[in-house]
Chain length 350, copies 3
């Protein structure tokens, strides 16, 4: 509760009936894509998506509503639902299906089925990871989306869509040195943020950064650093300039940097230096891994989505029992970076 700004507190007072509680949970579900537990952030993200595409916004809302409802009906704890933890994977699944599937009469029920299933998958991964105190992240979205779009190669009525990468055997990348203009870098920077929501639109990127900023300055800074790392590493390793511009190398390290930089690792005095170093290393590795996963998925024509972020972040969070210099925050205690700074002394007393 204390995590919310004053304005949000006042909103909360107004929200006593189930309908408004549900709306609150759905908006937090959108905000949790960036680990932010704040309905206002979710609302700004929503506006940012609508700036870019109405249809995308519609399927995103449909999915987050269905998944949140499914979680309620199947008996997920109130606390998790109200924090939006059963919404953010659905948010992204709705956007992905809108982007990759054919738009016909089968799409709405198909998105509804996927949204029901993503809630179950979220519960599955959460329960599987419980002994390790590692969060679900966007793994439920990645898995569900792969399952539901991979089927379009097998079933004729949902197939025939263009934005998916054409299945191909990997070929050695041509030996290039990426030349980036300042203009490319600026486009890549904002698109890298917007691509988290599958959008390629500078203003969507700006809206997302604003939405993060109003809830956590540290998270916003981490997002900025993550997007810059994505561009920098792709440039250094010779990544394709058009993809840099489109923000494709950026959205995974953006999420890694926000997730590790204060949300699931504490930035408190003692752990600050190792956390910053690990976050930067992880964001760099995430960009490398993005390239590898796109190699691996090449022959089956599936997109990387946020799998590079999920993988690298899981590696780092699982490792914290052995890596004692880092201070991991358990999933159910994670609120926002600023809180973990203050909470540390108490945590030490235990």
């Amino acid at each position: 509760m204390s995590a919310k700004a004053g304005a949000v507190n006042r909103m909360d007072k107004l929200l006593h009936n189930p309908v408004s509680n549900f709306i609150d949970a759905a908006l937090r579900g959108i905000a949790q894509v960036f680990f932010q537990d704040n309905p206002l952030t979710g609302l700004i993200f929503l506006i940012g998506i609508f700036i870019s595409s109405y249809v995308a916004g519609f399927y995103m809302l449909l999915a987050v509503i269905v998944a949140t409802g499914t979680a309620m009906l199947l008996g997920v704890s109130r606390e998790q639902i109200s924090k939006g933890l059963f919404g953010f994977n659905a948010t992204l699944t709705g956007l992905a299906l809108e982007l990759y599937m054919k738009h016909n009469l089968i799409l709405p029920p198909y998105v509804i089925l996927a949204a029901i299933f993503v809630a179950i998958v979220t519960a599955f991964i959460q329960d599987a990871l419980k002994p390790y105190q590692v969060p679900v992240l966007t793994s439920a979205f990645v898995l569900t989306t792969w399952l539901f779009i991979g089927a379009l190669y097998s079933y004729g009525r949902i197939g025939g869509v263009s934005p998916l990468p054409v299945p191909h055997l990997p070929v050695n990348a041509p030996i290039t040195t990426t030349t980036l203009t300042p203009n490319d870098a600026v486009l890549g920077f904002f698109n890298g943020v917007a691509q988290v929501f599958f959008q390629q639109d500078i203003w969507t990127g700006v809206a997302i950064l604003v939405g993060v900023f109003i809830n956590s300055r540290i998270s916003c800074l981490a997002a900025v650093v993550g997007s810059l790392i994505g561009i920098g590493v792709a440039w250094a390793l010779g990544g394709d300039a058009a993809s840099v511009r489109a923000g494709l190398f950026g959205f995974n390290p953006v999420l890694t940097a926000v997730g590790l930089g204060g949300i699931y690792y504490s930035l408190s005095a003692k752990a600050a230096v190792p956390t910053v170093v690990m976050t930067i290393v992880a964001a760099v590795v995430t960009t490398v891994v993005y390239g590898t996963i796109s190699t691996v998925l090449g022959p089956i024509g599936l997109p990387v989505l946020t799998s590079a972020f999920v993988f690298t972040t899981w590696v780092c969070l699982f490792a914290t029992k052995s890596l004692t210099r880092l201070q991991a925050i358990p999933p159910n205690e994670a609120t926002k970076p600023e809180h973990h700074l203050k909470a540390t002394p108490q945590a030490k007393q235990r």
Copy 2:
């Protein structure tokens, strides 16, 4: 014990020597493919397979005998062996190798090696899943079979076989609407059941349904519903009509429906509605996932086997800690749907 019909009880009295105990365990191993702990069911299944193919029946028996023996020699608990829990994965592995491998002098020792290994893999997965109270299902069969048939692309003396899918890059499915005649639907319905044992034969399908029916009416009903869902979803999404007819879209949802519909979820009063809904959703998703896994396996030329069932069912069973409306049955307490109905009041008292 109380799970057995009168006739079976009388058989048990006759079976006191090790040989007959072993036969009993092997027959239950065959029956457990459909989660049925009943030697008579296994015998009927065995007859059903022999109706379709003597050679298949031979390799199935060889594998189930070797695996059951291996489990005994390596010290698996008596209870698990006598329930057939170390037999059913071998049953399917024997059938799969018979179908996909070249028939030469190397095949019998190769099947024996695979049957030894599938017993070890069953122990591996059982021990890995123990903290989660989730059953092995047919995962040991899927894994072992992939490992043993995937090698035929690398080793000349076991290679050169036809029924495997030719390695290929996925192509967008042609935009079709599947037209099914009533005849197609009936063939698809029974073949969907028979394909669990890799057979395409209506009478094998009938025998299997009879074998399930004599042990559990609820499981039989679930199998019927699962096969219908497979046909229905494949038709709705535009699946290939010849594959529908051959039962290829059916065998995975059949197993999902039987597994979740009463065996590992209780159908007791309180949980009945969520269980039925979840079972139907899971069977529908299994059919979608079947399409995706066949996309993913396309480039490496391996068959889907029952992986779509294993995956979807695991997702649902792992999730039951968070999804509190469902009542999961732990693997070592799972007997048959009818028992779980009665047992529930006692379970609540705990």
Copy 3:
């Protein structure tokens, strides 16, 4: 401590300052590739690599030093570091990147990044496997190497390298019978040992066997048996003769045989027969699995590395709770086969 030979003990007395401790840890890191906790063994391995290639030796040293240093800075326990447990995966990662990547100015920092990450991945897998008491083996090397070389298909400045298998769809192996001359068998035998370190050089193979022998006669015998099994199985199944000669079918079963034959399974009186049988079965299956994994990796152009060993050995070690005839040694108690023989009576008293 008692595991060390007299000579090594005297070395230990000399080594009291941090620098020599670090050197000791790094050398053990090299020796641990063969599960040997002995700096002299590591030194002999190092010489063996330098016999084959100076550049390979350089990158190997760079990686093991960086990874050991990273583990220290991130707070890994002293005991694990001094045993070389955070070094051996890096040792192999350095060798693999040297072999598969383009040699340019990006390579040294790229290897350093990979070495930092492999230390984190080692911690990740160790922590993930902790509830199961199963060791990391070379999984951290396999994963990190795949991630770092897979990227060369996506990034132009690191791409364009030849020794990687060209991405291809698997084709049924031509029906052949492998004819091996005695000369082929001898070459294959020593190269099978040397290929653990990516070298194809008889004298490297000899040096490695000597290094293992001075620490453990049983491990040396297991390595010999493993290499022979690799050749024998590949010959029986019709594997490619040139690959047999190069030792490619050998290095995975070599590691499986050493790992299971005395290190992680006890060879004490009661468990001796099942352990020997299981070790042989596992080494045979490892060779089959090598063929399958190379099929699976064909379309994405990645090498098998030691994944066949890791997979098969994990299966066997996870299974030991159910397979009660085998006596597994927990990772932090594993020293060397000869010790476990003596230690058993005490273990029984507990």
